[in-house]
């Protein structure tokens, strides 16, 4: 490449010459060279604005040296900078004094006290004496600006980090500055509270105690906090987190700045669901996900009663031992660590003798297909030339992946969206291809120039997108299950079609549930063996197991996790299955499935166990135990070992470390060894892409502690890139002929009166994280229907009106809202949302079909 631009420039900082990339920010260059310049408004993950003026340094220019904001200034060759002169010191001290002039002296009662960048810089640089004798600015003390966030305007230093986060990063300016001059204040609109699913990030990056999180407020003093680094398992993005506890109780989760994954951001569900670990103390109902299961339970005379571990284990062994092989199956495990998933997968196959294992609740994608597609990392997606999404609303499904992709598109990646329904990325999309349920494969076919059939998108648009995609160079396809009511084979077929037609394209699966990818990689899926390999053996997936149980062909089931009934769509068959079968449940939380349990074994959950997880891109990262499991709950690895013993066999692994060793030695898949290499912050990606974190800037991430000290550790952009297909020896890949082909079922005829059902996942659903966390429980979304305005007009339905929806076997009444983002002829409904009475989703579903059809009747 003939590139004229220099790759490196020389900058003199305090007389020392350092080299930098042209256009790098001076503050970062200086920091790398060991010169830390104080700052407030600057944040490494946002565009610089240079407003606080704390980072002023002297820069030589044609008219002598002038004071310039180092956070805003981009270096150029020959730049001469002084950061330690009297003039610089006076300016920086002056700014600090100005900031303190109106800042209240309420540090002792401030959440940020002890970890406050303003307090810290005032201590190290401030004069200690105030020359400001007048009354400070007064505002009403903390006001609530959203469900989770409080604002103390007196403490605000107007750095605009929070408002910039809201508009620039999250794309929802629900808070903005109001007023002018020294009355300027952060404000939401009374008509729209700050209800972003990312609101907690503003609290984390606030450099003072102006924004505080309601759940954390006053729960701990910073100096009492202990911290471990871990991985969030609320969804499959796998954000890196700092988990903090005080006095043996979890108190706070903060985002870590991982270059490869989350850039320091978290969603509110991940950040504020830590209370669900303990469960809601008031909740004793074992059928509720809010209840923590702390002791073994055995069904006696119809009710579950606490028993000793030995008794529970022999009861479980008796059930499982009595129905070996085909009569037995294992369902669940997506919430486990890789180590636990591995152990259960081997116990199922080698001790229980069954191939019927599946971590998916009939809501995933074919693991063999995922193993065969050319993999893309999140980084790859963020640098793609073209992004194609076949997903639901990513802000709802995988919030931090949404942030990463949004940033990519803002920086110039072209977005092609398969429009299944409303989506927060929509406004940035260059092309939106409207897709009705059951037709994604047809649109994919049309895009690749194959005879497909009639699709909603116009020919001209299809042509434009086809030209954009080319051979797939620089194309990353992000695909998940946008519609749970649609057979997985629709998306799977679309993906195969795209993979065939775009040989250079890469694929990032938008898997939702926490460690579902790790569980599949560990063999908790039919036909899969540990190490992401096709096993060749046939087994039943969850749907077939439930059918077999209901039909009496399978007699017993081991549930890894208690939430089968809360997650599976065909709840009628699942209920029939569990009623007919003998059921052993290993779980940390209660759930509806426990109504059918014969034995319940209490397990450790997130933040209580060590191990590793694999995120949706295949990156393996470490989980740490911050607190110990309550009561008699054990780690899954220990439970599996004891159960093996109860079944009269010798366990291979009795500890997480042993399981990790088996994984690494037996399959080449990285397990706990990821912790050994500090430079990788405990993370290795699937394709060997190392992940590195930015040197921790305590002003950028107040509250996070790190062994990294400033200016020393590896820096941003150091991620190495390995060609796709490079994998640890012994792991995968899966060849295309091992991948199933064809639609699972035929698409039914749709008449003019029917609407196709789109069941979309919502972030604030009825899962454990939400129900178990008092801070979040109130946010669980109400069930509503969405339809295209023209459909509502056609059917004579007004916005907000309740309508009757007729499904296969039921009629439910719900309010409906028009939304032009819903494809015509489609009715969208949120999965697992809150509604009194019968669950409408399940009632409307046609379990047998490729898609479900419903009719709407106006009630008036």
């Amino acid at each position: 490449m003939a590139d004229e631009t220099p790759t490196s420039v020389s900058v003199t900082i305090n007389g020392r010459v350092v080299s930098a990339a042209p256009g790098e920010l001076l503050i970062e260059v200086a920091e790398r060279a060991g010169t830390y310049i104080p700052r407030f408004c600057y944040h490494p993950r946002m565009e610089p604005v240079g407003v606080c003026r704390q980072c002023l340094v002297e820069v030589a220019g044609p008219r002598g040296a002038t004071l310039q904001p180092s956070c805003y200034l981009r270096v150029s060759d020959g730049m001469d900078v002084v950061t330690d002169s009297e003039k610089v010191k006076k300016a920086q001290d002056g700014v600090l004094e100005f900031l303190l002039a109106n800042h209240p002296l309420d540090c002792p009662v401030c959440d940020k006290g002890g970890e406050c960048p303003l307090q810290n810089q005032a201590l190290s640089h401030g004069s200690g004496e105030t020359r400001f004798v007048e009354e400070k600015r007064h505002f009403e003390k903390p006001i609530s600006i959203g469900e989770l966030v409080l604002l103390d305007r007196e403490r605000c230093i107007q750095c605009s980090r929070c408002t910039r986060f809201a508009s620039e990063v999250a794309g929802e300016a629900q808070i903005d500055f109001a007023g002018r001059g020294d009355l300027i204040q952060v404000a939401p609109s009374p008509s729209q509270p700050f209800d972003s699913v990312f609101s907690g990030n503003t609290v984390q990056i606030c450099p003072v105690g102006a924004l505080t999180a309601k759940p954390y407020r006053f729960t701990a003093r910073p100096w009492d906090l202990e911290q471990v680094e871990s991985t969030c398992t609320t969804c499959a993005v796998g954000c890196r987190v700092a988990v903090q506890s005080s006095g043996g109780r979890l108190t706070r989760v903060l985002g870590l700045d991982s270059e490869s994954v989350n850039h320091g951001w978290l969603c509110d569900k991940g950040r504020f669901s830590l209370d669900s670990v303990d469960g809601n103390e008031e909740s004793v109902d074992v059928l509720s996900p809010a209840t923590r299961i702390t002791q073994p339970l055995l069904r006696r005379e119809g009710t579950l009663q606490p028993v000793a571990w030995s008794e529970a284990l022999s009861a479980a062994a008796e059930i499982l031992g009595a129905h070996p092989g085909e009569a037995l199956g294992v369902i669940g495990g997506a919430a486990l660590s890789n180590e636990a998933a591995y152990v259960w997968s081997r116990v199922a196959r080698e001790v229980l003798g069954t191939e019927n294992v599946d971590a998916r609740y009939d809501d995933g994608l074919d693991p063999a297909l995922l193993g065969a597609l050319a993999p893309a990392s999140i980084e790859d997606a963020s640098r793609a030339r073209v992004l194609v999404t076949l997903t639901g609303d990513l802000r709802q499904e995988l919030p931090v992946l949404f942030l990463r992709l949004r940033e990519a598109v803002r920086r110039g990646t072209t977005l092609v969206e398969f429009g299944f329904g409303p989506s927060a990325l929509r406004e940035l999309a260059a092309h939106v291809l409207s897709v009705r349920p059951g037709e994604a494969h047809l649109v994919a076919a049309a895009l690749t120039g194959r005879p497909g059939g009639e699709v909603a998108a116009g020919a001209a648009q299809i042509e434009a997108v086809r030209a954009l995609l080319g051979e797939g160079d620089g194309v990353v396809v992000v695909a998940g299950r946008p519609n749970l009511a649609e057979d997985a084979s629709v998306i799977e077929t679309a993906l195969r079609t795209l993979a065939d037609a775009l040989p250079a394209a890469r694929f990032l699966p938008a898997l939702r549930r926490s460690n579902v990818r790790g569980a599949m990689d560990m063999g908790l899926a039919p036909s899969m063996a540990p190490g992401r390999r096709a096993s060749g053996a046939a087994g039943r997936d969850t749907r077939s197991q439930l059918a077999a149980l209901a039909a009496g062909e399978q007699r017993a089931v081991l549930l890894l996790g208690g939430c089968l009934l809360g997650n599976v769509l065909d709840v009628a068959t699942a209920t029939a299955a569990l009623s007919a079968a003998q059921v052993v449940v290993v779980t940390g939380h209660g759930g509806a499935s426990l109504a059918y349990a014969d034995v319940v074994l209490p397990a450790a959950v997130a933040h209580e166990r060590r191990g590793t997880v694999t995120n949706l891109e295949g990156r393996v990262s470490a989980l740490s135990a911050k607190v110990s499991a309550p009561g008699a709950a054990w780690d899954d690895v220990a439970i599996a070992a004891e159960l093996t013993i109860a079944l009269g066999r010798e366990p291979e692994a009795t500890s997480v470390e042993m399981a990790a060793k088996l994984i690494e030695e037996g399959t080449g898949y990285p397990a706990l060894s990821v912790l050994a290499d500090g430079s990788l912050e405990g993370i290795l990606s699937w394709s060997g892409v190392a992940s590195q974190r930015r040197a921790l800037d305590p002003v950028a991430f107040p509250g996070v502690r790190s062994t990294d000290s400033l200016g020393q550790a590896a820096y941003a952009g150091a991620t190495s890139h390995v060609a796709p297909g490079a994998r640890p020896a012994g792991v995968g890949p899966i060849s295309w002929d091992q991948v199933q082909r064809g639609l699972g079922a035929s698409v039914p005829h749709v008449d003019a009166y029917s609407l196709r059902l789109n069941v979309a996942r919502r972030l604030y659903d009825q899962g454990i994280a939400m129900q178990g966390s008092p801070a979040l429980a109130g946010l669980i979304e109400e069930t509503t229907l969405l339809a295209h305005p023209s459909d509502l007009d056609r059917l004579g339905v007004k916005s907000g009106e309740s309508v009757d929806v007729l499904g296969v076997g039921a009629r439910v009444s719900l309010p409906v809202r028009p939304d032009a983002a819903v494809p015509r002829g489609t009715l969208e409904i949120g999965f697992s949302t809150r509604r009194a009475g019968e669950d409408p989703v399940r009632a409307l579903l046609d379990p047998a079909g490729t898609l479900s059809l419903v009719r709407l009747e106006s009630r008036s």
Partner: protein
Amino acid sequence: MASLDAPRIVSSRRDYPDSFSLSRYLATGGYEALRAALGMHPEQVAAEVDAASLLGRGGAGFPAGRKWSMLRKSEISYLVVNGDESEPATFKDHYLVERDPHQLVEGVIIAAYALQVNRAFIFLRGEFALGLERVQQALNEAYEHGALGRKIFGSDFSLDVVLHPGAGAYICGEETSLIEALEGKRGFPRIKPPFFPAVTGLYGEPTVVNNVETMSNLPWIVLNGGAAFAALGAGRSTGTRLFALAGRVNNPGVYEIEMVKNTFRDLIYDPALGGGVIENKALKAIIPGGVSAPWFGPDLLDLALGQDEVAEKGSMLGSGSIVVLDEDSCVVRAAWRIVKFFSRESCGQCTPCREGSGWLERIMYRLEHGGGRSEDLDLLLDLSDNIAPGLTWPPQQTTICVLGPSIPSSIHSALSLFRDDFVAHVDHGSCPHG
């Protein structure tokens, strides 16, 4: 004696009660300059403006011709006219938009033609309700008359001009803040670099921003030639200029006089102009060029009204306003009111300006109203230095825009010229004038 023979360039219609109407404008040679300009090549028009050495009348005094030629290297997308006039004691643009809106409109069309811009915006201060009506009326009439819209006067040049009302914020006079306001945002000045909106201006596109008075000079320059304009005045300060005279004078008002050929004394004392200080009191100080400018004492009354002449003495001609303080005026009170203005008008985005202005205002308030301490005088200077390091003129700054270093300018002037008055305030416990 004042030199009053120069032609009136921008205020020639001041004696007509209907000076704002199209009929009066046409009857007095209106739109002839535009016709002439359209017969020239755009570069020729720009060359005349360059030859005129027309200094921008908004405050910074940058030569309009040079701004344009610098920028014409890239293709300019928008022309924006700055009519936000809010610098205290400045009221010349107010006069121009109310009294001679067609002259402004014609100037804008000429500038747009010279810059080959097809979309221009006139940003007018929101408090100019009548000015807004008159300019919109003039625009409507210009469209009607064929001077605006498609194929102006049958030429190949087309132009749309949109009138945009401000809404009450001094800072929107700063050109990047004005652009933000025009984009529908809070008027936060943009951080520099880039230094000129020409690089990334309105909607991120190259944009020229010029003041109302700057534009209003263009018809005359096109009709009479740049050389004729340059023949007036002296040095870099050519032509005439509108001076807004206010404060303790007998005849406050807007006066068009030749640059450099007149002094402060001429403007203030000539019977045809300011007519002297009220009740023949002694003049105590003058604030030249808007309240951002450092003050002069009576010793500089004979200084010529020219941009460089004033700059050499450590102040600026700025927006062309001159405020006269007499022996009875309290300089502490005056400086307090000025810093109060800046404190109220600081946009609030950068710390030294937002916090510094308020702090300085509170100290000045105490000095004037009670509670002043002797250590306050040094504190004032030290805090001022934290906003405008070195307290030099032209200033250095720790802030994003030049509003910052303007804040301490009055305090610093008053303290330097009249320290005794401050000490008297401290000694007396408040303002000795009562």
